[in-house]
């Protein structure tokens, strides 16, 4: 895997999940057309925001992580990204830097404040779950239209919003293998074209995870999912990801995404 998965989470997916709203109302269309419109990406040069990740287990115990995220589009298909942990206290100050390379392996660095050292990480990690949450890297990564085939089901109303309902089936067995999903049902709000609910089915075709989106927000004319809850109903575990203070096209110093800066910034 060339492009690094963590990177995809954040840069790409992360906020690219922010879906662009098309101005015209949409009329009778195929499932694929709807998805294509929903995936219509916004363009930004830099982006930053605060992310809160709340994991809750079956007994209601919680584990909360706060991260500050920064990213920059360095070239057309290369991004830089920096995550700085704010909480919990024992990992406060830990920072993770990814410099994407179109050719060759991405550079990944972690700053450990306890050792005051930056460590370069080389790994063949395939991805899996994002920071032990119920979101996989794929769930929050940049959605790929051609990975799935789409079938439009009857429109339904979810939380008071009229939604398109799409049945998404993996386009190839490899996609099913990589994602672990045999089927996804998505509900996409018709007015703003943002997914507000998804059902994920495992490879045994059992309902596995349910995504709900309690928060959407318009930033610079772009609608973002700012609050997402992914619930694994098989183990009764859920993860909530909240975005706050999202800003796009903020000016960051040119050296911001460098190892040296990683070590200095507190």
């Amino acid at each position: 895997m060339k492009s690094n998965s963590v990177l995809r989470v954040v840069v790409s997916g992360l906020l690219a999940i922010g879906f662009l709203i098309t101005s015209q109302p949409v009329h009778a269309q195929t499932g694929r057309e709807i998805m294509q419109k929903a995936l219509h990406k916004t363009s930004w040069q830099t982006m930053q925001g605060d992310v809160t990740l709340i994991l809750t287990n079956a007994r209601g115990e919680q584990r909360i992580r706060k991260i500050k995220m920064f990213s920059r589009k360095r070239t057309e298909d290369e991004n830089d990204m920096l995550m700085r942990f704010v909480a919990p206290p024992d990992v406060r100050g830990t920072a993770f830097l990814i410099i994407e390379h179109a050719k060759g392996e991405d550079e990944r660095y972690l700053y450990l404040p306890a050792l005051r050292r930056v460590k370069r990480i080389a790994s063949s990690g395939k991805g899996g779950n994002f920071m032990s949450s119920d979101f996989t890297y794929y769930d929050i990564g940049r959605p790929k239209l051609d990975d799935w085939t789409y079938k439009r089901l009857a429109d339904t109303t979810i939380a008071g919003h009229l939604c398109y309902q799409l049945e998404c089936l993996p386009a190839t067995p490899q996609i099913a293998r990589d994602t672990g999903y045999n089927k996804i049902i998505r509900w996409i709000r018709q007015d703003i074209l943002v997914t507000i609910q998804s059902h994920y089915f495992d490879r045994g075709n059992r309902l596995w995870k349910v995504l709900t989106v309690p928060g959407v927000q318009k930033i610079n004319d772009v609608w973002f999912q700012t609050d997402m809850i992914m619930k694994d109903i098989q183990i009764n575990h859920q993860s909530e990801m909240k975005f706050e203070n999202i800003q796009v096209n903020v000016k960051l110093p040119p050296q911001f995404f460098s190892v040296r800066y990683l070590q200095r910034m507190r």
Binding site: P88, A114, L115, S124
Partner: protein, 781 residues
């Protein structure tokens, strides 16, 4: 008596209702489900069981299947490529949580500039150089290689962890089918608790079908030999099949499943249920010789037999109910449902049989029985023998009793799922091979719980876990251990330039010498600094680093996500309860004296096996006492004499004595299956003494002790022996079971039928002749 009269009057209605009831319950019986997991029948209030179930809440995967791939050239590009591919495709199976194999195990290494975390084999090897690199990486990795590479290095082990939502035996089946479909050119062994559970289920299904057919065939044969006509075969057979169907249907209605115990119910019930029918038809054919209408013949027969059929059925049912003293739910189920079935059979024998006989004409031609004269002669000769040699017989019995007593000390208590399979069974072959060559598939889990979230990251807790692991590793049968501590130590080493002295848990306070960048006069410069960092912070950052760079699933299965509970898994190569007991005791002692900063509780498959063992011992003791007391009471009440009740218990007591003596001498282990023998034998065997005493009392009214014995031996002794033969042979069908445990039980319980019968027709007469108890004369029913 009112019952028979009513039945005779409404014969058609009775037959109709019987068929309707059977149809209703029989239809339900279709939905009978099977639960082959022995540990599932442990009661919830057993700590180890509670914890074992709790583990599925805390960790995403609890049970695993181990696939061992054997090849003489394991370390070659072709074989490794095959293992690489197999590992990947196993990971894709829907029931699989994660896979740990030699190819995908994470190797953590410190490098010049940082950290390198990769699969041991990132891509299929092409050359021997690739293979060599892989070997080096694997064997210098500090990883518990014993789990995934065999001692002789000819086998690779792939540990497949199942999702907790999956029934283990179904997950095992999916994996086994998948591996078989690959038709790999290697010898492959698949084992683990889910696989054994799967094979248990398959064996149970096979037993259920085959043994039940066998016992039905046997019953047909016995009935045919006894009666040689259609009604003599069909009517008792009907009672047998109807009672079994009703009982199974009833089990479905109350939500019970077929377990390793209740799986034997149809065989037990059939053998018992046929006895009443034989009795009734026997007397019917005898009576049918004298003239009479069907109605009057039936009424005469039942007048005589209603009471004995009821009493023997009730005592048998009570014997089975005594199994409910066991806390193993499946054993209790067998007791309850067989008791229910015996009652159903009794009702059918007392209603359906007379009803059908009423509707049929009296048979014209009845076979005269020549052999009955021979039998009578033999019976009298046996009675004479006892009368002449009562002293000698008594002494011989005493010698036998003493000899048997020496067997008691040799009884082995051993609940071993694997020893239940014959040596040639694939489940046993795979299990033994894998446990001999790898760290082992039975596991002991130490669940380490701290007071607060994050508590596991405290160095003092990690250090105690580390020394507990070291302790466990030194114990016999422990192949290796796995815990979060291993990851922390590896990270600590890797982040200190792979220096071996850092392969340890960081101390409470860590002094770190490093440099800091500071801005001086508009320029960034590096200056040396020394910090004192809490060890916990360092650990937290290591774990964070690992989570960011490798598979978080590796950790998720070893520590709960808020770092309050962790587990140490010790892998064991044995299921022997004696070995497990020693380990359990030593480990508990160690924990009590060495672990102070966390609560440690023990569970795992090893603890479940031990819990079963404990329940078997206690259950055995209580169920024998309970069944002896119950049948003594029931007979005392029906004879209206406590002394006769106690007299009744003597042959049973002898049969128990014989049972345990025999187990000891024959080397048959006491386990969850063989423990069932005593209560069943008491419940069924009590009938013989009841019949014998009842008849003897009647004869004593007119004759002396010796003459009464001759009469009783003919009138009661012969039917008793025939009954014991029938029931004993019925039980003996279980000798053809897939499982050694069931075969042992078949042997024991068939023997018990003969010993209870022997007790009734030998020990009782010797006692009567020697003691000449007067209460037998005075007190009449």
């Amino acid at each position: 008596m009112w019952l028979t009269q009513w039945v005779v009057k409404h014969a058609k209605l009775v037959v109709f209702i019987t068929l309707l009831v059977t149809l209703f319950f029989g239809y339900q019986a279709k939905n009978l489900q099977r639960d082959p997991d022995i540990t599932a029948s442990l009661p919830q209030n057993i700590p180890a069981k509670k914890l074992y179930d709790r583990m599925s809440d805390i960790f995403p995967s609890r049970d695993f299947v181990l696939i061992a791939v054997e090849s003489d050239s394991l370390f070659s590009p072709t074989v490794l490529t095959a293992i690489y591919t197999l590992t990947q495709s196993l990971q894709d199976l829907p029931d699989v949580y994660s896979v740990m194999s030699p190819t995908n195990i994470k190797i953590i290494r410190g490098t010049e500039e940082g950290l390198d975390i990769r699969d041991a084999l990132p891509h299929p090897p092409k050359t021997m150089a690739d293979v060599q690199a892989f070997k080096n990486a694997l064997f210098t990795s500090d990883m518990p290689v014993e789990l995934i590479i065999s001692k002789d290095r000819r086998m690779a082990g792939i540990m497949v962890f199942l999702k907790n939502v999956v029934r283990p035996e179904e997950g095992a089946k999916e994996i086994m089918d998948f591996v078989n479909r690959q038709s790999l050119p290697f010898t492959i062994y698949i084992t683990g608790k889910p696989v054994l559970t799967y094979y248990l289920g398959r064996g149970m299904a096979k037993d259920f079908g085959m043994l039940f057919s066998l016992v039905i065939l046997l019953i047909i044969l016995i009935l045919f030999i006894s009666f040689r006509n259609a009604r003599g075969v069909l009517i008792p057979l009907g009672v047998v099949i109807f009672s079994v169907l009703v009982t199974l249907g009833f089990m479905v209605l109350v939500g019970a499943k077929l377990t390793h115990s209740t799986n034997m119910l149809p065989i037990l019930l059939s053998s018992i249920a046929v006895a009443d029918g034989i009795h009734i038809l026997n007397r019917y054919f005898e009576r049918a010789r004298t003239n009479g209408t069907p109605q009057s013949t039936v009424i005469n027969v039942m007048k005589e037999l209603n009471a004995p059929v009821a009493v023997t059925s009730i005592t048998t049912a009570f014997g089975f109910l005594a199994l409910n003293t066991s806390r193993v739910t499946s054993v209790g189920d067998l007791g309850r449902f067989t008791a229910f079935g015996v009652m159903v059979a009794m009702v059918f024998s007392l209603t359906f049989i007379p009803a059908v006989l009423t509707l049929l004409p009296i048979p014209k031609r009845i076979r005269t029985r020549k052999e009955s004269q021979l039998r009578n002669k033999l019976a009298v000769r046996y009675a004479n023998f006892l009368i002449e040699h009562r002293g000698l017989t008594g002494i011989a019995l005493l010698v036998l009793i003493v000899f048997l007593a020496f067997g008691f000390t040799r009884i082995r208590l051993e609940n071993n799922t694997i020893e239940n399979f014959p040596k040639s069974h694939p489940a046993r072959i795979a299990f033994e091979k894998v446990n001999q060559e790898f760290a082992g598939t039975t596991f002991l889990t130490a669940l380490v719980e701290t007071d607060s979230a994050g508590g596991i990251k405290e160095p003092r807790v990690l250090q105690e876990m580390d020394s507990l692991e070291t302790f466990l590793q030194r114990q016999p049968h422990v192949g290796t251990t796995l815990s979060l501590v291993d990851f922390v130590k590896r990270m600590n080493k890797a982040l200190h330039g792979d220096s071996a002295q850092y392969y340890r848990v960081p101390p409470e306070q860590v002094i770190v010498h490093s440099t800091e960048w500071v801005e001086k006069n508009g320029q960034w410069v590096e200056v040396p600094v020394t910090d004192t960092i809490p060890g916990r912070v360092l650990v937290a950052q290591y774990l964070q680093l690992y989570e960011m760079s490798a598979k978080p699933e590796d950790l998720a299965n070893l520590v709960n996500y808020n770092y309050q509970i962790a587990r140490i898994n010790a892998f064991l190569d044995t299921e022997s309860s004696q070995a497990l007991r020693t380990l359990d005791q030593k480990t508990r002692q160690y924990i009590a004296s060495h672990v102070n900063h966390a609560n440690v509780a023990l569970t795992g498959t090893s603890e479940l096996f031990l819990a079963i063992n404990d329940l078997v011992v206690k259950g055995q003791f209580y169920s024998i006492i309970a069944s002896l007391i119950l049948v003594t009471l029931v007979t005392a009440i029906s004879f209206r004499s406590l002394r006769i009740g106690l007299l009744n218990a003597i042959p049973l007591f002898f049969a128990m004595w014989f049972n345990f003596g025999f187990m000891g001498w024959a080397g048959i282990p006491l386990n969850i299956v063989t423990m069932l023998t005593s209560s069943i034998a008491i419940g069924v065997g009590v009938d013989y003494a009841v019949h014998f005493i009842h008849r003897y009392q009647i004869d004593l009214k007119d004759f002396n002790y010796e003459e009464s014995l001759r009469g009783t031996m003919v009138e009661a002794g012969i039917p008793i022996v025939l009954n014991a033969l029938t029931v004993g042979l019925g039980f003996a069908v279980m000798l053809f079971s897939v499982f050694l445990g069931v075969r042992h039980m078949a042997l024991l319980i068939s023997l018990a039928m003969f010993t209870t019968c022997f007790g009734a027709i030998t020990i009782l007469p010797v006692l009567f002749l020697t003691l000449k108890p007067r209460f037998l004369k005075k007190e009449n029913q």
